[in-house]
């Protein structure tokens, strides 16, 4: 029995660690899309900005906490920059500009080796409390830390969306001409939502770097954006609880497919493509048939018209 637990515990820890990071990442997207109706197809860019800023600042001698804060702030700042030209226009424009930005950012991370070490990636940066915590317990510690952060983010967002502020965000999602006619500065609210969502993604980026101990541009492929979309939609758009559950489901599923990998006659590039096809199909089918998600709160998003 004990041996059994010893075997399964590290595995479980890994799933939970990754899930908590992705839950936070997706909570940022849920604020933007689920509550405000913004389409951000480049969410991964903010994950990357958070991760790179944190580790690069730390490697050049700044304290860890300061580096993380800078990472969050810079991610939020880029949300602001992208929001300025797009958020007064139709929702399509934000989608285009964010997806373009995430691709351009990946090129920059790959090519500006003087800054980012290109495809070699970065490792050897500090992890929180690494001197104090014994190595064999480190992941458990990290898990506790991440769950605590997730808790803080989750409850803050819940508070946010159940406030008059959240009411304005939801009204923008529904039909922005109504809050406009009532005197709410829709553009400013959209911008704030994008900034907060991006900053949260930046935080998730720092966490991802701590977990992986190594980042390179390939850590931040476009697919990560769509993983977040799947998480949000799976769990029920506009439900923070659903988003956390969605993250857990997706990563349990992904680690499940690792076992299957040995039994299917796919080559390695095919396995990656296969996974993306599944993600794409899931996105299409969920939006077509179950836009309220599997755990959507009542029929909040199911009513058409």
């Amino acid at each position: 029995m004990i041996e059994y637990i010893d075997m399964i515990l590290p595995y479980l820890t890994t799933i939970l660690l990754v899930s908590s990071i992705y839950a936070i990442f997706a909570l940022g997207l849920n604020l933007e899309w689920g509550f405000t109706g913004l389409i951000n197809f480049g969410h991964v860019a903010f994950l990357a900005i958070g991760a790179y800023t944190t580790v690069m600042l730390n490697m050049s001698g700044y304290s860890l906490i300061l580096s993380v804060i800078a990472g969050i702030a810079l991610a939020g700042f880029f949300g602001f920059l992208l929001g300025i030209p797009t958020l007064r226009l139709r929702e399509d424009y934000l989608a285009i500009v964010t997806i373009g930005f995430s691709e351009v950012l990946r090129f920059i991370l790959l090519n500006e080796e003087w800054l980012t070490r290109g495809s070699f990636g970065i490792h050897g940066f500090e992890r929180p409390f690494q001197d104090v915590i014994p190595y064999q317990y480190y992941n458990i510690f990290l898990l506790l830390l991440f769950v605590a952060i997730l808790g803080i983010i989750y409850f803050s967002l819940e508070k946010l969306i159940h406030s008059p502020y959240g009411r304005v965000l939801k009204s923008i999602r529904e039909d922005e001409s109504v809050p406009s006619a009532l005197g709410k500065n829709v553009f400013s609210y959209k911008l704030q939502s994008l900034i907060i969502g991006s900053a949260i993604a930046g935080l998730a980026g720092a966490m991802l770097a701590f977990y992986l101990q190594y980042i390179n541009p390939f850590t931040f492929k476009p697919i990560e954006t769509f993983n977040a979309w799947i998480i949000v939609i799976l769990g029920g758009t506009a439900s923070n609880k659903g988003t956390v559950v969605g993250a857990l489901i997706l990563w349990t599923f992904f680690s499940g497919t690792r076992f299957i990998e040995e039994y299917v006659p796919f080559e390695s590039h095919q396995m990656g493509a296969f996974r993306m096809i599944i993600i794409g199909l899931l996105l299409m089918l969920l939006m077509m048939h179950k836009p309220e998600g599997i755990f959507g709160e009542r029929e909040e998003l199911a009513l058409s018209d």
Partner: protein
């Protein structure tokens, strides 16, 4: 002539000069000028496609056109809709814009301006004030819902309401704000007659308290009954303007509009 003296005694809250809006070849609003005195009810009538709704959109900033619009002595054409709304003007939409995936109560509670909890930092810094405000706003919402006879639906999603109920919701939401000028686009369309009369009464009550109304309506008897002045539009132009009795007598108005109704 009496018009001039009128102007001296009464303050016009809204004045529009030479307003124009073209959609391709269609001249939806074609050089309209009008003045609305504070504390009056003005009816805007005219056949379908006359340009009434477009006029509303121009005044409330939802469409850009040419011309000059003054509201409470301030130029507002060029301002975005939310700023115009903050000057104290609220409009309803002809086709109700219910926020479908929010509850009826939430739809109303959204409306009041300068809510403390609409500022993000206040959510953590001024919890008590927000709580108090929320309670006040909720009470007011419920009172208004009760007046419009949809209080029993307060926890339903607005998307689940019937067409007429959505119309009521649209109006109830506007009533949540206490604006200086309330612009209603066909408030009585699809509303049962008893309730329509009740709403008329409410409008007169609010006017007594100093509110100004600009109301688009096809129900001529209803609108002439509550209006101090009627403006008739046709093909983008203002063709007649005056007290209801006068308008009812005008042959040209009868021809384009009232004629059809006998």
């Amino acid at each position: 002539m009496h018009y001039l003296t009128d102007q001296v005694v009464k303050l016009d809250i809204l004045s529009v000069r030479n307003l124009k809006k073209h959609f391709g070849g269609v001249k939806a609003v074609d050089g309209c000028s009008l003045k609305i005195d504070a504390g009056t009810v003005v009816g805007l009538i005219g056949p379908n496609g006359a340009g009434k709704t477009t006029m509303f959109k121009l005044i409330s900033g939802f469409e850009g056109g040419s011309g000059e619009i003054m509201f409470k002595g301030r130029r507002i054409d060029k301002l975005p809709p939310f700023k115009i709304a903050r000057c104290g003007m609220v409009r309803t939409f002809q086709i109700p814009h219910a926020l479908t995936k929010m509850t009826v109560l939430e739809n109303l509670m959204l409306a009041p301006n300068i809510q403390c909890g609409e500022q993000i930092w206040n959510i953590w810094l001024r919890r008590k004030k927000i709580k108090e405000q929320e309670k006040l706003i909720k009470d007011k919402s419920q009172k208004i819902l009760e007046f419009f006879e949809i209080l029993h639906l307060e926890d339903e999603y607005a998307g689940a309401l019937s067409g007429g109920q959505k119309k009521l919701l649209e109006m109830a939401r506007a009533m949540m704000i206490d604006p200086s000028l309330m612009m209603l686009d066909e408030p009585f369309a699809g509303v049962n007659p008893t309730l329509a009369r009740k709403i008329s009464g409410y409008i007169e009550e609010l006017r007594e308290s100093g509110m100004t109304f600009l109301i688009i309506e096809h129900d001529i008897p209803a609108i002439t009954k509550i209006s101090d002045k009627i403006i008739v539009m046709n093909e983008g132009k203002i063709m007649a303007e005056g007290v209801p009795e006068e308008i009812k007598q005008r042959q040209d108005v009868l021809d384009v509009y009232l004629g059809g109704e006998g």
